[in-house]
């Protein structure tokens, strides 16, 4: 805590005890509940497969708990760190993220589930740099767009272009993996943060139009991989290829739909137990909740995530400065888009992309990144404006 001694920010900071009281405990509680729910769902999705393969049925659960613990530590560290000091490290953070993203495109990277998104560290550990790039992006944009301005209500043209350029580089690297989902998360974050930073409407309109044009061009000039087109057509008509691209979508919907109002009971899901839905502990974790806990459980998870987003927006509103507001906004846009896309694809209202459900899905890098984001929210909240 020594490094915070010279702090003279708008919020009073009176040592550890006062700091603890200033934390957003609602947010902590909700994230804890989501993490426990996620751990239970991860176990449900994996224990039968592990038994069939003659492995420890709790092996996924144990690793997930370890990931969560590491994540909480990371989040705690970020919380106590003065987020404004992050500005000094942002260029390094950004550079590391970009190097990581370049590295996965080299032979250092590994392909898992069709995306070349991983660096295998050995010993069963692997890192997904794109998850950490999300953190980097949020802080970087907040730094560029949140610089104190005199009289100006929004960022100037130079700042906007710089922000777009610096966001564009990792976005393109991620698109090359190819990881369309994370690229879309980048788009949502950029758009949301630009909007909240006060950028002119024409910038926002231009960004939306540019994104649309890029998507159209990608479709027209065949930049998209055939499986991506297949996923998209399968999204439009899931019965078109029930054994291929439409399989995930269809099986996910069957699992959720068969859960009914109150579900089949925890660990009792037949679709889940029979491994009909692929990637169920990661991208399709929501189907476990849908089948075993029914509408009650599924809606509860959505509501809990909604509370996280609400707390995030509240933190953005109460932030001490524009930088804090933008950090919180970026985190909210990231988590909101990822939640909508992840749950939406299992419900058949969004095309299938590989994105985990925040705080719930299994996966080390994603858990760490989410917890860091959670830490960022707390860090902004701790240093909020005096009134509350």
């Amino acid at each position: 805590m020594n490094r915070l001694k010279g702090y003279r920010g708008p919020g009073p900071w009176r040592g550890r005890a006062a700091g603890l009281r200033r934390l957003d405990w609602t947010l902590i509680l909700i994230v804890l509940v989501l993490s426990v729910a996620g751990a239970v769902l991860v176990r449900s999705a994996t224990f039968q497969l592990m038994i069939e393969q003659g492995k420890d049925p709790e092996s996924y659960l144990k690793r997930h708990i370890l990931n969560l613990l590491i994540g909480f530590v990371l989040g705690g560290l970020v919380t106590v760190l003065d987020y404004r000091l992050l500005r000094a490290y942002v260029p390094i953070l950004y550079a590391v993220a970009c190097v990581g993203l370049v590295a996965v495109l080299t032979p250092l990277g590994s392909t898992i589930n069709g995306s070349h998104s991983w660096i295998v560290l050995g010993g069963g550990f692997q890192v997904q740099p794109s998850e950490f790039a999300k953190v980097g992006l949020v802080v970087l944009l907040a730094m560029i767009l949140g610089e104190p301005r005199d009289g100006e209500i929004g960022p100037g043209r130079r700042d906007v272009l710089l922000a777009l350029a610096l966001a564009g580089l990792p976005a393109v690297l991620i698109l090359m993996q190819p990881d369309l989902g994370t690229t879309l998360v980048f788009g949502a974050v950029v758009l949301g943060m630009l909007a909240v930073s006060g950028a002119r409407k024409r910038w926002l309109a231009g960004l939306v139009a540019g994104g649309g044009a890029a998507a159209t061009a990608a479709w027209a000039f065949g930049v998209l991989k055939p499986y991506q087109i297949a996923r998209f057509t399968a999204f439009l008509d899931p019965s078109a290829d029930p054994r291929g691209a439409g399989y995930n979508a269809q099986q996910a919907r069957i699992a959720i739909g068969s859960g009914g109002a109150f579900g089949k009971g925890l660990f009792e899901g037949e679709q889940t137990g029979g491994h009909f839905v692929p990637e169920q502990q990661t991208d399709f974790i929501f189907t476990v909740a849908g089948e075993e806990l029914g509408f009650a459980g599924g809606a509860a998870i959505i509501v809990l995530l909604g509370i996280v987003l609400w707390r995030g927006l509240r933190i953005a509103l109460q932030a001490a400065d524009l930088f804090g507001t933008l950090v919180a906004t970026g985190v909210v846009c990231w988590l909101a888009f990822q939640t909508f896309e992840n749950v939406g694809m299992t419900l058949g209202i969004m095309p299938i992309t590989g994105l985990p459900l925040p705080f719930v899905s299994y996966g080390g890098s994603a858990t760490f990144a989410n917890m860091i984001a959670f830490g960022l929210l707390q860090a902004v909240h701790v240093r909020r404006r005096a009134f509350d």
Binding site: G198, S258, V277, G294, A299, T325, A336, V343
Partner: protein
Amino acid sequence: MNPRTHFRLVVLYVLVGALLLVLIGRLWTLQVLDGERYRQTAAQNRTRDIVVPAIRGMILDDRGVALVRNRSALVVSVDRTSLSRQGDGGDAVLKRLAGVLGVSHASILQRIRLCSPTVKRPCWPGSPYQPIPVADNVDPKRALQIMERQEDFPGVTAQVQAVREYPHPSGASAPQTLGYLQPITQEELDERKGLKVTGYSGVDLIGRAGLEAQYDADLRGEPGFRRVLVDSQGRVTGTAEEKRPVTGGNLVTSIDAGVQGAAESALKKAIEDARKAGHKADSGAVVVMDATDGRMIAMASHPTYDPAIWTGGISQDDYDALLGKKRGEPLISRVTQGQFAPASTFKISSIAAAVRDGYDLHGTYPCPGSYNVGSRAFTNYEAQGHGNMNLHEALVVSCDTIFYRFAYEAWLRDGGTDPKKNPSDPMVGMAREFGFGARTGIDLPNESAGRIPDRAWKKAFWQATRASNCKAAKEGYPDVARTDPSRAAYLKAIATENCTEGFMWRAGDTANFSVGQGDVLATPLQLARAYAAVANGGRLVTPRLGMAVTRPDGSLVRRLPDPADPRLKVDPKVLKYIRGGLADVTKRGTAAGAFSGFDFKRVDVAGKTGTAEVYGKDDTSWFASFGPVSKPRYVVVAMVSQGGTGASTAAPAVRSIWEAMYGTDDRKPILKNGRLPTGLPGPPVSRTSQ
């Protein structure tokens, strides 16, 4: 905080809230409104119906000896549907499988490709949704490798299945009678009611010929099914419901393996001997029938084949050989499908016709070497004259000219070339009564009807061939004329005659008809039935093979019907007279040579030779017999196409069958006291080998 940021944050609030509401609304629709539908889909997703194929019934002989049975084989099958779901179309799996089975990857690909007009065998002629067997009789060790490493072999199953086995008891093969099995086609599968054998159960086979086809429904049994719980990989996790299969019924036939074996070896020897004597002897048939009720005791057909080649996929070469003319079309049963001119064996019908037409049964008639029918001279065999004789002697020495006269005179009475309105045609009518020109109704598919050429047939045939005949009549045969002008002139004259008056029932036609020549065609089975009618005193029996369907423990499922036998409208005295004539044929007539030294005291055999002239081919050799003369019980008929005279080729074959049935001084008889077992056999003598 500036107002624009504040406002946009509020917009973001609303937007996020709206998105989450969309998710909850959609979740409500899926789970609460459509939940029931998804629950049903999920249930279908999770269970799989495995049809457990029933073991097909055996085909037994009259003593309960298995002619066709089952053996257990480890069959490795490949499911095309499952392969197609794999990224590489299952190529990696098939390569691994080829390695385990020790065969080439290409050969497995060949066996699982679907047959079509452009795809040659080996290929899969059955439904594409059935697992396709790629190897049977797999070494259990290899099968275990596949079953233990299912994750390496998705879509491949190794199962114990019952496959057909042919034990050849007493040398009895009878493949044309027994028939064979083939994978069911998708259309047949769709038509079939009840449980369909699909999925992981193995192959559904259907009888494609012979008894396997005729009694398919009895032999097939009823497949059972198991509704099993499966996971997404198709791994079985439990059983929800089960219904055990019902083994197919055993078909008890009237075939006697001992007599069948004797018939097959007699036919084989007759053909070999005929070939040694310089005849082509391209095909042949032997029929042994119970004269009293039409039960088929033996049916042999040549050329023949080993039905085991059908088990487990057939190569294109084997298949071509079975269907092809080159190997003599061994799938065709010459007994029921072979049609040949019956020649002098046909005279039993012609005598009965002449007597009914008014000729004295006990009269004396001249038998000149040659008889003029109209302007043309028709001769005896080798134009030999025999002086005056009664009808008994006419059969014994096989005089033709007596029959030419009967036929010619009847033709003249019918008005000759200017026929009266309802011509009597006594010989045609009698031939039909004897069952010629119509299917016998035997319980086998695809029986041929033979041919009785009457006036209506002549007319239809003339219309069908008129164009080509008239063209030849006009242009002659320039190709033939270059090498053989006299033959060309002869052919041209015939073409001219056929063109202008081919529709007419001419004197020559009726003369040929009377001795079973010309356009008359009969199957060996039809001839055997006609001789059974003579032997049993005038009942036209319906030949039949199936006696009963029994359960594996020998108890009766159902007795197969024995159709009523119509009576010939022939005076029993006439038939008795014919029997007397035929009895002398084997002792001092045309077959005396073939039967020299035959022990007539053991069994008194009567018979008739037939030597049919076939244009452009060697003679068809016939011998039709029955015995014992005092109380006829069996009919034995042999035919060898292009086999020479009836006396030289067919008669010795028939003799050896009688000797096998009744025994000789050095050989034990197959029949006990001249009888075959009556009643149903007990449980099958030879069970499914395990």
